[in-house]
Symmetry: C2
Subunit: 337 residues, 2 copies
DNA sequence: CGGTGTCATCGAATCGATTTGAGGGACGGC
DNA sequence: GCCGTCCCTCAAATCGATTCGATGACACCG
């Protein structure tokens, strides 16, 4: 048995001839390699990384950002012989706060995409199980690894770009504020109900540039249709903004579509900026002005954080840089009418 | 130990008081429930369903169809205490034909989205391991379960709709022919190199309606940009078609965008139909005429096929119906000029 | 021929749970 | 007081591999 084990695992000294003999015997006996379950138990490792994807799979998967990060992650994990187990986030508030998989599935490391708040019940569950955790775009905590980008600086750059073009009436369309909030204008007194770290940071970037938005519109998710309704509302309301800085590209492209439908020219009448740096073929021939984040690298960074844990290192923190890409959807502010 | 086991698993007779006593002791000892690895080994089940997603994660995840089916699958599998392990399909032809995960990962059942050909090396690997397999949109084989939709009938309906509108010059934009083929017109003698079952079926639907397409344009993937270049090519070429039947909604929306860019009116100058029934917010206010397939139900059907296997039943076959949704992108054929 | 190194073989412990059966304590019913 | 039921406790086998040490076979070198 020891020899067979060595023949399959390749660890330890074994002659090529013996190895082949073992493999032949295995084939003759219809033995298709070591049972992963036994191996995992013995090794104490499952080779599985649990990845919690946003509220609902469907919703978060319509989000190309999550997809591309996930792709970068899978590509990095593959060579390490690690697999990705999909774990749905808490879909509806009435059900259990954490998916049973998070409590019971075998996994060596957990990754939470779209990390929420520090007191997230998922973090509690993972801590209880002693599962090392990587948080993406979340609030930093001492015992979890973090991967993020310079949200704040990126949004500041985008806003400064608009300022430089002479815009003064700047509105902003944000990602969700918390799990429950619907869409619509955010009154000033509700600014504290902001439990999503990523929304907070990108909003702070606008302020950093010295801008107080003439309107803040929150959306329930980063989807084109929500951008469209946000754009329609903002552009038909009183005191129309001349520029709209959006917290995601999908939202921004919705705003652009809304503007076009209203007969407004982009960027002559209204400038629109996004965040993420996606390819948006349906906006052609326009190219969105946006803050480009390295999505695949972000996934790779998560992969490296996972690898750190597995090699015994403690939690690590990584922040990736962003760059402003100036497209055709932003231009000089229109003359005051 | 037996009592503790019963307390956690809930199987067998145990008094509520004892159960609580065990749970308290566990909490005091920092024991966070049974180790899944031990449990899995003993049970002989991992509770994991391996799902092979298209060529590249990035690419196939940009495909909303796969995402929504995956979502339906995860929703169905959750209550059964099953998790989904993501397995990348063979990304590049130079690398190994099957992902190592497929060979070594612990899984009770495997699912192949976008099932390819019968001699797919993945099927071979799974057969060798004795892993029950569910094939989605693939060629039926005796020992695997199949889930599919009425591709052929759906495409036939769409084509008949175009015929009824008086179109005679009908072109078609197809999904990939095989793993390697690039994009472009398909010469008649290459029609045999069609190794993708889904492409073949949808093409057959056109023929069933009695139509011989004036042009068949194959694409490397179901993406908006490929639809766009297909549309540009077909609409600027000689003998312009008056209707283009596409094998996916993303391709169709690319064709619509191309038409608009060329100054052609949809549907006055050219009619476009799709397949899938996605929401395409960026096409607004147009609504694509398309063959709607029940995506979430398709995922659920896969889940049931998986459940069948786990309950000891043999491979099952399911085919879901489709419906034609008539939108605003198809209209009467233009007068002959 | 002795010494050395390489590698196959054998036996046994271990990972952590599940499951079964035997045995026995507690309790209620008659 | 006896019997039956319910349920806890204890011991042991099992799932399938990995890993360690000891032993032995064999070839090669000096």
């Amino acid at each position: 048995m020891s020899t067979a084990s060595l023949a399959f695992s390749g660890a330890g000294p074994i002659a090529a001839a013996t190895r082949q003999r073992v493999l032949d015997a295995a084939a003759a006996l219809d033995y298709s390699g070591p049972n992963p379950l036994g191996r995992q138990l013995r090794r104490g490792r499952s080779g599985i990384v649990g990845v919690v994807v946003g509220d609902s799979l469907r919703r978060s998967f319509r989000d190309p950002v999550a997809i591309q990060v996930l792709d970068g992650l899978v590509s990095t994990l593959g060579p390490l012989d690690l697999g990705v187990l999909l774990i749905p986030g808490s879909s509806d508030p009435s059900g259990p706060a954490v998916d049973p998989l998070l409590e019971t599935a075998a996994m060596d490391v957990a990754v939470i995409m779209w990390g929420g708040t520090t007191d997230d019940p998922m973090l509690g569950a993972l801590r209880r199980r002693g599962t090392p955790t990587v948080l993406v775009e979340g609030q930093h905590a001492p015992d979890v690894a973090s991967v993020g980008i310079d949200d704040r600086g990126g949004m500041r750059q985008a806003t400064e770009h608009l300022l430089a073009l002479g815009h003064t009436r700047i509105a902003t369309v944000t990602l969700p504020f918390d799990r429950c909030r619907g869409e619509g204008l955010v009154p000033p007194d509700e600014m504290d109900h902001l439990s999503w770290e990523i929304t907070r940071r990108r909003l702070a970037g606008v302020t950093d540039a010295g801008v107080t938005p003439v309107a803040i519109w929150a959306t329930p998710a980063s989807l084109v249709e929500h951008g469209r309704s946000a754009g329609t509302a903002l552009l038909t309301g009183p005191d129309r903004p001349t520029a709209i800085a959006c917290q995601s590209d999908l939202l921004a492209s919705g705003v652009v579509l809304a503007a076009r439908e209203l007969g407004l020219r982009v960027p002559e009448d209204v400038s629109v900026s996004g965040f993420d740096g996606l390819d948006l073929p349906w906006l052609a021939p326009d190219v969105l002005t946006t803050v480009v984040q390295p999505l695949a690298e972000k996934g790779a960074a998560v992969g490296h954080a996972v690898a750190d844990f597995l090699s015994g290192a403690g939690p690590s923190t990584r922040e990736l840089p962003v760059t402003l890409r100036i497209g055709t959807t932003t231009g000089p502010a229109p003359e005051v009418s």
